[in-house]
C-alpha cells in the first residue's frame, strides 16, 4: 500500500511500542474525528426529519423555517419541540435528534429561570448548564474544537516560518545570519499581549467570527515564530559542520538536497520535542486570552469563557469549572504523552555513533 522507507518504518514501530504515547495518539485522533463531526453529535438541528413522506437532513443544509414542517412560525424550527409535537399528535412523522440535542448558544431554562443547573440526563444536559442555561457539553465540544484547530494551525505556521528562517540563518551564516538575528531580537521584544489588545481594539465589529479567529492566529504567529529560529539556527550550524554534510557537498549535492535530505531529518528530534509544548502553549494562550476577555467574541463558546464562569461560581455550580478544567487537563496530557513518544522514537541519535 504505502511504500515506506525502512528507516521511517522502524521509527513508526518504535512509536507503536511506546504504549502510553500510542494509546494517547489513538484517543486524541478519535476525539479529533468526533469533533470534526460535532454537528452530528451535538446540535439543536435534527439529524433526520420525516415529514409528509419526505426525508429532511437539516444538519448541514440551509435553515428550515417552522412552516416547512407545518408549524406556524417562519424562524428556525425548534426540532426538540417538533419531536414532541409529532408524538403528541400521533402522526406518522418522526424526528431523529443527535445525542445532545442542543446548540451552544440557546438558553434552555427549566421553570423559566436562567441559572446553572446540575448535570441531568433526563433533560439531556449531560454536563449541566451554565449561568444562562446553555448546555455545557455543547459549549465544551465546540469550544474545544476551535481551540484544537487553532493550536494545530498555530503550530504549523510557527514551525514553517521558524524552520525556513532558522535553517537559512544556520546554513548560510555570515551577514544574513547576523542581520536576521538583530531583526529577531528587536521583533521579539515587542510585547505580545499589548499587541493583541491593540489589534483587537481596531478590528471592525462587522468582521465574522472565523475572520476574528484567523486574525488572532496571525497576531499570535507573528509574535511567536522567533523562538523557534534560535533552536533551528544552532542545530543547523552544528550539523552543517559535521562530516556527512561535507561529504555530501563534495559529491556535489545541491543546497536544497543537503538541507532537506541531510540536515532536516537530523534536527527533527529537536523540533519534535517542542511540538507538544507549542500546542499546549497555544491552547493555554487562547484560553487565557479568553479568560481575560481578549479572545473570541461573545457569545462564541470557548474553554476560557467556561473557566471564567466556573471560577466565579465555584460554590454554587462546581460542574462548570470541573468540565472545563477536566477537558483542559485531558487534552493537554494527551498531547504531552504523544510528544514524549514521538521524541523517543524519532530521535536519529538512536542510530548514530555520535554523542
Amino acid at each position: 500500500m504505502f511504500n515506506v522507507n525502512p528507516q521511517t518504518q522502524k521509527k513508526l514501530d518504535r512509536f507503536r511500542k511506546i504504549k502510553l504515547g500510542y494509546y494517547s495518539f489513538i484517543v486524541l485522533s478519535s476525539i479529533l474525528a468526533l469533533l470534526a463531526a460535532a454537528e452530528l453529535l451535538v446540535n439543536s438541528r435534527a439529524l433526520v426529519v420525516q415529514y409528509e413522506d419526505t426525508l429532511y437532513f437539516p444538519t448541514y443544509s440551509d435553515f428550515h423555517p417552522g412552516t416547512d414542517f407545518g408549524l406556524d412560525y417562519t424562524y428556525e424550527t425548534n426540532y426538540r419541540d417538533l419531536a414532541t409535537h409529532f408524538k403528541q399528535t400521533q402522526s406518522s412523522n418522526w424526528v431523529l435528534m443527535p445525542m445532545v440535542p442542543y446548540n451552544p448558544y440557546e438558553n434552555d431554562a427549566t421553570n423559566a429561570i436562567m441559572r446553572p443547573e446540575a448535570p441531568n440526563s433526563d433533560r439531556q444536559h449531560y454536563l449541566g448548564t451554565d449561568t444562562t442555561s446553555r448546555d455545557i457539553l455543547a459549549r465544551l465540544v465546540y469550544g474545544t474544537r476551535t481551540a484544537l484547530l487553532f493550536a494545530f494551525a498555530f503550530m504549523a505556521s510557527v514551525y514553517f516560518i521558524g524552520i525556513v528562517i532558522g535553517c537559512a540563518m544556520g546554513y548560510f551564516g555570515g551577514l544574513f545570519d547576523l542581520g536576521f538575528q538583530r531583526i529577531i531580537e528587536i521583533w521579539s521584544n515587542i510585547p505580545f499581549l499589548y499587541m493583541v489588545i491593540i489589534v483587537f481594539s481596531v478590528i471592525p465589529a462587522e468582521a465574522s467570527i472565523p475572520a476574528r479567529i484567523s486574525l488572532l492566529l496571525l497576531v499570535m504567529v507573528l509574535f511567536s515564530w522567533t523562538s523557534m529560529t534560535y533552536y533551528m539556527r544552532t542545530e543547523t550550524y552544528k550539523e552543517k559542520s559535521r562530516d556527512y554534510v561535507a561529504a555530501a557537498r563534495i559529491i556535489g549535492a545541491s543546497t536544497r538536497r543537503i538541507i532537506f535530505t541531510h540536515i532536516l531529518p537530523n534536527v527533527l528530534s529537536t523540533l519534535v520535542t517542542f511540538m507538544p509544548f507549542t500546542i499546549v502553549s497555544a491552547i493555554a494562550a487562547i484560553t487565557a486570552l479568553d479568560f481575560l476577555g481578549f479572545g473570541l467574541p461573545v457569545p462564541t463558546p470557548s474553554l476560557g469563557e467556561l473557566l471564567k464562569q466556573g471560577t466565579a461560581n465555584l460554590r454554587t455550580a462546581p460542574w462548570i469549572v470541573t468540565s472545563a478544567f477536566g477537558t483542559l487537563v485531558l487534552i493537554l496530557s494527551l498531547v504531552t504523552f504523544i510528544g514524549e513518544a514521538i521524541r523517543e522514537s524519532f530521535d536519529p541519535k538512536q542510530f548514530t555513533l555520535y554523542r
Binding site: 412560525y73 424562524y75 444562562t132
Partner: protein, 649 residues
C-alpha cells in the same frame, strides 16, 4: 551660604528622586495664588460682587428646613470599624480633574462632604448643611444663604463666604483640566455676592421649579488649602487630602498605595451634634481594601472580612446567598430588600440614527419589536426588575404616565422590516433585501457583567430575522465608542442623580447631534457630521424637539414643564430610536448581624443602603455573634423586604 544652598539642592533632589509622589509634591516651590484670585475677582466684578449687609433686600422669605425629620436613628452607637471593599485603588486624592471621578470619590466627596443644604431622602425638601437658612428671591433670580458660623474645615479653619467665592474661581480656572466644570460654573451661574462673612447670595440665569437646588447643593472649597493652585495643579495636589466639611478624614499614614485606605471619623467634626447629621457617620473607622474580582469579594464577605455586600443581582440573592445558606439561616448574616423611588437609569438600546439603515424609521420600529426584554427580565433577572417605559422614568409627574415600551412581537417586527425592503430570509434565517444587504447590526456595550443580556437578545432577535453582532468592550473603550458616535446600537445607561425633573437638552437636542444639523432655512443640512463627545447617543435631530427643549429650559412654571416633558417623551417614543430596557426598582444588601440599620432600613429616595451613612457597628453584637459562630448558637434569621415604596407596574 553656598554650602547651605548646595545642601538644600541635594535634599530636594533626594526627595524628588527617592520619595513617594506625595513627598515630591511637598518639595515643589510654594506658590501663592491669592493675588491672581483677587485680580480675577476684579476683572469679573459683575460676577464677584461685594455689598454691605444693609443692602440686603427686604421681604425675603427665609426657610431653614429645621422641621424635617431626623436622618438616621437615635439608637445609633458611635464607634467600631467597618470593612469595605474598594474596586480599584484611587488614582488620585483630587476630587476634580483627570482620573478623579472614580469609585473612591464618593467616600471623600459625594456621599460624605457637606453642601449648604441637602434634599431630605424622604420628602425631597432641603435640610440645612453648611447653611443656617436660605431664601429664594425670584426678582433677582438669586438664592440668599446665611451660613452657619459654627462651620469649620477639618483643620479648624472657619468656612466663610470667601471660600464660596474662591470655589467659583477654582472651578473656572483652566488649571484644573476639567472642561465640564469650567463650562458649568461659567454658564449656570451669573454671580456671587458677599454681604458678610456668613451671608452670600448666588444668582442663576433662569428661574426653575428647583432654583434653590442649583445653589444649595454647591459645596465650598477651602481657599487656604488651594492657595497653591497653578499650572502644576494636577501633580501638586495628586496625593494631598483636602481639609473637609465631612465627618471622615484621611490621615497620611492610612493611605497604603495600591492596597488600602482607612478613613477616620473626625472627633472634632463641627456638625457632630447638628440635627439631621448627629445620627449619621457613626462608624469610627472605615477600612477600604482593594479587592478587584467580584467573586472574591463575595468570599471575603462570607468570611466576615468585609461587612456588607450588594445583593442586587439575582444570582447573589437567590443562588449564592439563599435563605438556606448556613450563615443566613443562623441569623449571622441578614438580608434586606428595599424598594425605592427615584430617577431610573435608562438601561436600553441607543440606536445611532446616523448610521445607514438605522436612519429608516421602519427598521427602528422593527428593532423595537424584535428585542425580547421581557424574557431577559423574567428569566435572567427572575422577574425582579421591571420594564422601562421611556428614557426618563422615575421623575414623578414629569415622567409620561401612559407610554409603554413596545412588546416583543415577531409578526409586527417582520412587517416593519418588510416595509423597509427586507422581505426574504437568507440561508441562516436572517432577513435580506433584494440587493443582498443583510439585516445585521452591531450591538456594542461596555458592560462586561451584562453581556449575557445581549446574548439572550441576539438569540431572540434572530427569530424575527434580525442579527445582532454582540461586541463587548471594556468600560472605557465602550464609552469612547459612543462618544465618538461610532456605534450602530449601544447598550448603556446614564447615572441620574436625584433631581426633580429630567434633562432633555443633553440627550435629545440637535446641537448635541451634529455640528450643524439644519441649514438656516430650516432644511436638513446634507453635509452635517455627528458631533463627538456629547450624550446625544441617538444622533437625534428633530426641529420640533429642539423647540420644545428651548421652551422647557426657559420655562419656570411646573405644570407647563410637565406638559412639555410629556410632549417630548411622546415625540421620542414615536421616533423609536431608544429601545427601553429594564430598571431595578429597589436595592438589596446582605450584611453581618453587627451592622445595624434604623428600623425603616433606608429612605424613599435613597439609591443604596450605605448612601446616607445611617448604619452603625454594634461592637457588643459583634462579639456576641463571633462567639455564637464558634459555639454554634443561632439567632432567628433576618430576611426583610421593605416594600412600602414599591411601584405598581
Amino acid at each position: 551660604m553656598t554650602m547651605n544652598r548646595f545642601a538644600l539642592t541635594l535634599t530636594t533632589l533626594f526627595l524628588v528622586g527617592c520619595g513617594s509622589e506625595k513627598d515630591a509634591s511637598d518639595a515643589l516651590p510654594v506658590i501663592d495664588n491669592t493675588a491672581e484670585v483677587l485680580a480675577f475677582y476684579d476683572a469679573h466684578a459683575d460676577f464677584f460682587r461685594e455689598r454691605s449687609i444693609e443692602e440686603l433686600p427686604e421681604n425675603l422669605v427665609w426657610e431653614d428646613g429645621a422641621d424635617l425629620p431626623e436622618v438616621g436613628s437615635a439608637d445609633a452607637k458611635k464607634g467600631g470599624t467597618e470593612y469595605v471593599r474598594l474596586a480599584d485603588f484611587p488614582r488620585t486624592l483630587r476630587t476634580v480633574g483627570p482620573d478623579s471621578n472614580g469609585s473612591f470619590r464618593p467616600w471623600i466627596l459625594d456621599n460624605t462632604s457637606m453642601a449648604m443644604a441637602h434634599r431630605h431622602p424622604e420628602t425631597l425638601d432641603y435640610f440645612p448643611g453648611l447653611a443656617l437658612r436660605w431664601a429664594v428671591d425670584t426678582g433677582s433670580k438669586s438664592v440668599f444663604v446665611e451660613l452657619d458660623p459654627k462651620a469649620t474645615w477639618s483643620d479648624g479653619v472657619p468656612i466663610t463666604a470667601d471660600d464660596y467665592r474662591f470655589t467659583f474661581w477654582f472651578y473656572r480656572t483652566r488649571y484644573i483640566t476639567a472642561p465640564w466644570y469650567n463650562n458649568w460654573y461659567e454658564s449656570q451661574y451669573t454671580g456671587i455676592t458677599k454681604y458678610s462673612d456668613h451671608l452670600i447670595s448666588i444668582s442663576i440665569p433662569e428661574l426653575k421649579p428647583d432654583t434653590d437646588s442649583k445653589v444649595l447643593e454647591l459645596r465650598p472649597l477651602p481657599q487656604h488649602f488651594y492657595k497653591e493652585v497653578g499650572e502644576d495643579f494636577l501633580e501638586r495636589y495628586q496625593w494631598r487630602f483636602a481639609p473637609t466639611s465631612a465627618a471622615y478624614i484621611l490621615k497620611d499614614e492610612d493611605l497604603k498605595k495600591g492596597r488600602s485606605v482607612r478613613l477616620t471619623r473626625d472627633q472634632n467634626w463641627w456638625a457632630a451634634d447638628k440635627k439631621h447629621w448627629r445620627y449619621r457617620f457613626n462608624v469610627d473607622h472605615v477600612n477600604l481594601t482593594v479587592i478587584r474580582d467580584n467573586a472574591k469579594v463575595f468570599e471575603a464577605f462570607k468570611r466576615g472580612d468585609i461587612d456588607q455586600f450588594g445583593l442586587d443581582l439575582a444570582e447573589f440573592w437567590y443562588e449564592k446567598l439563599p435563605e438556606t445558606d448556613p450563615d443566613v439561616a443562623a441569623g449571622y448574616i441578614e438580608k434586606k430588600w428595599f424598594f425605592n423611588e427615584r430617577p431610573r437609569p435608562p438601561y436600553g438600546l441607543w440606536i445611532n440614527t446616523h448610521q445607514g439603515l438605522l436612519a429608516d424609521q421602519n427598521i427602528r420600529l422593527g428593532i423595537q419589536h424584535a428585542t425580547h426584554w421581557q424574557l431577559v427580565i423574567d428569566q435572567f433577572f427572575r422577574g425582579d426588575y421591571s420594564r422601562l417605559k421611556t428614557a426618563n422614568d422615575g421623575y414623578g409627574p414629569y415622567s409620561h404616565p401612559d407610554i409603554k415600551a413596545r412588546d416583543f412581537d415577531i409578526e409586527r417586527a417582520m412587517a416593519y422590516f418588510q416595509a423597509a425592503g427586507f422581505n426574504q430570509r437568507g440561508p441562516d434565517g436572517i432577513l435580506e433585501r433584494g440587493d443582498g444587504t443583510r439585516l445585521a447590526f452591531t450591538v456594542s456595550s461596555g458592560y462586561e457583567s451584562l453581556k449575557d443580556v445581549l446574548t439572550i437578545l441576539k438569540e431572540e432577535a434572530a427569530k424575527a430575522g434580525l442579527e445582532f453582532r454582540v461586541e463587548v468592550l471594556d468600560a472605557t473603550a465602550g464609552w469612547k465608542k459612543v462618544q465618538e458616535k461610532q456605534h450602530d446600537i449601544h447598550f448603556s445607561a446614564f447615572g441620574y442623580s436625584l433631581e426633580l425633573y429630567p434633562r432633555f437638552w443633553e440627550t435629545f437636542h440637535s446641537d448635541n447631534a451634529y455640528d450643524k444639523a439644519f441649514l438656516d432655512n430650516g432644511a436638513v443640512n446634507p453635509d452635517r457630521k455627528p458631533k463627538p463627545q456629547t450624550n446625544n447617543l441617538e444622533t437625534l435631530a428633530i426641529q420640533q424637539m429642539d423647540e420644545s427643549i428651548i421652551q422647557y429650559r426657559a420655562e419656570s412654571n411646573g405644570d407647563a414643564m410637565v406638559a412639555l416633558a410629556h410632549q417630548m417623551s411622546e415625540l421620542h417614543h414615536e421616533f423609536a430610536s431608544f429601545v427601553p430596557g429594564f430598571y431595578s426598582g429597589f436595592f438589596r444588601t446582605g450584611h453581618w448581624r453587627w451592622i445595624r440599620y434604623p428600623s425603616n432600613f433606608s429612605y424613599k429616595h435613597a439609591s443604596g443602603s450605605r448612601e446616607y451613612f445611617v448604619h452603625w457597628v454594634d461592637q457588643d453584637i459583634k462579639a456576641e455573634t463571633l462567639a455564637a459562630k464558634d459555639s454554634g448558637t443561632t439567632f432567628p434569621p433576618q430576611i426583610k423586604v421593605f416594600d412600602q415604596y414599591r411601584e405598581t407596574p
